[in-house]
C-alpha cells in the first residue's frame, strides 16, 4: 500500500507537493481525470467502474461492477483482479479490503467491500492478470 501510494505521489508535480506540505487544507490536484472508464497503464485493458448509483456515498459499504475489455475490445474473462487504493494526500489506504467476489460474465466482475470513510481525493487501483497479460488501472474519485 505504501509503495503504491508513494509511486502515485511521485507522479504529482513538485509544485503540488510543496502546496501539500505547506497547507493542510488540501485540495486535489486540478488536473485529475475522474472518468469512470479508463485504459490500463500499459494499454492492455480498457475498464469501466460502475458503482451502485451515480454518486459514491461516504461511509457506506458499496458493491461495484468492474467491466474489463481487452485492447481488442473483447470482454475479458477469467481475470484475476486485486483491489488497492487510498488517499494519496493523507498517506493512508482504503478503510476496507475490497475484493472481486464473483465473475458476472461478459467482462463484468463484482467488487465487494468498497468504502470511503472521508471526503476528498481517493484513488482505487485494480491490478488485472489474464491471458492478455498483467496491467494496472487507477481511477480517481472525488468524494
Amino acid at each position: 500500500m505504501y509503495s503504491f501510494l508513494s509511486r502515485h505521489l511521485s507522479a504529482l508535480t513538485l509544485a503540488s507537493v510543496a502546496l501539500l506540505a505547506g497547507c493542510m487544507h488540501m485540495s486535489a490536484p486540478s488536473n485529475l481525470d475522474y472518468s469512470r472508464t479508463r485504459s490500463s497503464e500499459h494499454g492492455l485493458y480498457r475498464a469501466a467502474i460502475k458503482p451502485d448509483g451515480d454518486s459514491i456515498p461516504q461511509g457506506k459499504l458499496q458493491k461495484w461492477t468492474l467491466h474489463l475489455d481487452a485492447a481488442s475490445g473483447n470482454p475479458v474473462s477469467a481475470a484475476r483482479v486485486s483491489v488497492d487504493g487510498g488517499m494519496p494526500q493523507h498517506g493512508h489506504g482504503l478503510p476496507t479490503k475490497p475484493r472481486v467476489t464473483r465473475e458476472l460474465g461478459n467482462g463484468d466482475y463484482l467488487v465487494e467491500g468498497m468504502k470511503f470513510n472521508m471526503g476528498g481525493w481517493w484513488v482505487v487501483k485494480f491490478h488485472v492478470t489474464s491471458s492478455a497479460g498483467a496491467d494496472s488501472l487507477v481511477f480517481n474519485l472525488n468524494l
Binding site: 505504501y2 502546496l19 497547507c23 490536484p29 486540478s30 461511509g59 493512508h92 476496507t96 467491500g113 468504502k115
Partner: protein, 418 residues
Amino acid sequence: MRFAITAATLAAAIATTFGASFGASLRSAHRGGWTDAERAMLKSLSLASLEPLAPDPSNRFSDDTTAARLGERLFFDTRLSSNGKVSCASCHMPDKDFQDGRPLGVGVGTAGRRTMPVAGTAHSPWQFWDGRADSQWGQALGPLESPAEHGGDRVQYAHVIASEYRGAYEAVFGPLPDLRGLPERAGPVPDSARANAWSRIAPVRQEQISRMYANVGKAIAAYERTLEFTPAKFDRFVDAELTGRQHAAESAFSDDERAGLKLFIGKANCATCHNGALFTDNHFHNTGVPQATAGAQNDSGRAVGARSVVASEFNCLSRYSDAKPEQCDELRFAVTEGPELVRAFKTPSLRNVAARAPYMHSGQIASLGAVLAHYNAAAPAPAGKSELKPLHLSATELRQLEAFLRTLSSPITTSATR
C-alpha cells in the same frame, strides 16, 4: 463574519496564501459567508442528516421493545457482576452521557481504557476503541466477563437470568435451558477455577449457555439502540443558517463559535475524520496520542482489535449471530493487518464532547483545550505512525475551535421507557 471583500482582494489572497487550487472554492463564497462546499458540509454534520437506524441483522431482537425493556433492566442490574456492585451503568452513567468521566473505567478492578459513551453507537459498525466487537450486543458481552469490569461469567449470569428474569427472558427468547447440575460460576474467563469448571460442562450445554449469554447482550443492545442524541445548538444553527432564517437565541452563534466552525470544516481538518452527523468516520486512526502514564502497557489499538473481532466468539459471522454471511460485509472486508492499524483508535463522536473530559482512549488528555493543542502540535506517535501534521493554528483559533465544540452538547434521549 460576513465578508465584504472584493473579488480582486480574494484572488490576491488566494494567490499569495494557498496557490491557485483554492480558487474554485473561494470564488463561490456567498450566502452567510459559506461556500457551496461548506454549506454541504454543514448539512452533512447536522443531526437532521443522520439516517434512520437500520436494523442490526445480527440481532433479530434489536428493534423489539420487549427486549429493550429487558435490556434496560439488565443494564442497571448490579447482580451481573462478581461482587454484586457493578452494572453497565456503573461506568456508562446516564447522567454523564453514559460514560464516567474517569481516565480509565472502574468496575471490579480498573479497566485498560476510557469508558466510551453509548448514544449513537448503534450507527457504528465497530464498537470499543479498537473495534474488537462488530455489534452492540457483541460489545456488551466483553465487559461482563472481563475480570477488571463486571468480573463475572456466563454461567453465573445464566443463574441470575433464571432466578430474576425468567418470564421477561422467555417472553423474548423462548424457553430457558435447564440449568440444573451446573456449577454456580463457570465460563471461558481468565480465572482458572471457573475456566476449569467451564471445560467440564458438556459442549451442548456450553452452547446453550453461550446462546443465553448472547441473548443477554442482544437485549442490552436493544436498549442501547434507543439512546440517541437530541439536536444541539449547532444543529439549530445549521437549520437556521441553511434556510436563511433569522437566528433565535438558541441557535445564534457567537463570533468565536462561527469562526471555530469555519476552522473545524476548513483548515483545522477536524471534519476529515469527525465527519457525518455523529462527527465520526467510524474508522481507526493513529493520532499520536501519548502513552497513558505510570506503568501503562503498550496499547496497539486496532492492530489487536482487528484480529480480535475476526476471532470473536460473538461476531456477525458467529453461530450466535442472526445475520447471513453476506450481511456481515464490514467484517468480511475488514482490514486486519498493516502498519496503519498500529495504535489506531476509533474516531469518537464529538457530540457532547465538552462534557466528556478526560479525553482519548485512556483519558491521557485532561481538557478540551489540551486536546486541541495536541492536534495543533501533532507530535510523533509513541508507536506506529501518526496521521497528523502540525496545524499552526493561533491561540485565538484554538479558542474559537473550542467554542465551537461546546455547541455540540445536547441531552440523550431514550424511547425505551416511554
